[in-house]
């Protein structure tokens, strides 16, 4: 089990670093908002993996909140960006 935890942690970390790299590099605001969505999804997966491995359900409402309100950021940025901006 400890091997599985280490491998899964490394894969989660690599995915999060990829998303962070795209947030930093851009080149456009849409790339950054996609990458931040991926970062949120990676955080949700990591929270849930910790719950499943330690066999508790304490942070399940956090997942529900992130699933409900993760849409707000990307939709508002896409809506705000749609008419102008050439970056």
């Amino acid at each position: 089990m400890i091997v599985v935890i280490i491998i899964a942690g490394l894969l989660f970390a690599a995915g999060a670093v990829g998303a962070l790299w795209r947030i930093i590099r851009g080149p456009s605001a849409l790339d950054r908002i996609i990458a931040s969505d991926v970062l949120v999804a990676t955080a949700m997966c990591a929270i849930g993996a910790e719950m499943a491995i330690n066999r508790h359900t304490d942070t399940l409402p956090v997942l529900l909140g992130l699933a409900l309100f993760g849409i707000v950021g990307s939709v508002s940025v896409a809506r705000f960006l749609a008419s102008r901006d050439d970056t």
Binding site: W21, V38, M44, L63, A67
Partner: protein
């Protein structure tokens, strides 16, 4: 608790498989975000952990703690995630198309600017994927 003694806990095996699946999805999304050439293809990579990873993880939590409250919350999480993720992906993709944040030269099919069906489906020169710079 287990009626059949397998010599190991079956829940540990299920947990390991599903956690590794979700971790693999997140890793694939990170690699896709780094490697893919434009906004629309990165959008494709980004949806893997948002749906498949969350489904694996939430099913994992529901299997390891089977109770009515847990399963209800798990179903609610999957339903809301699969309602909101396509909406945000659609909005981002539409904004990318309207503000020209995509590579027109590597599109396979563009039905939004074509004047007719024949023009949209006309054969075009698409560069091989290993020559597309990220």
């Amino acid at each position: 608790m287990n009626p059949i003694d397998l010599g190991f806990d079956l829940r540990d095996v299920i947990t390991a498989v599903l956690v590794l699946l979700a971790a693999l999805m997140c890793f694939a999304a990170g690699v896709g975000l780094i490697r893919f050439p434009d906004v629309l293809s990165r959008l494709h990579a980004a949806t893997k952990p948002q749906i498949l990873g969350i489904m694996a993880i939430v099913a994992d939590v529901a299997v390891t703690n089977p109770s009515v409250g847990t399963i209800t919350l798990a179903v609610a999480i999957i339903v809301f995630q699969s309602l909101t993720a396509p909406v945000s992906a659609h909005m981002v993709g539409r904004a990318a198309y309207r503000t020209n944040h995509f590579r027109r030269d590597i599109l396979v099919l563009d039905e939004l600017t074509a004047q007719s069906f024949e023009q949209a489906h006309a054969p075009r020169e698409i560069p091989p994927i290993d020559q597309v710079k990220g």
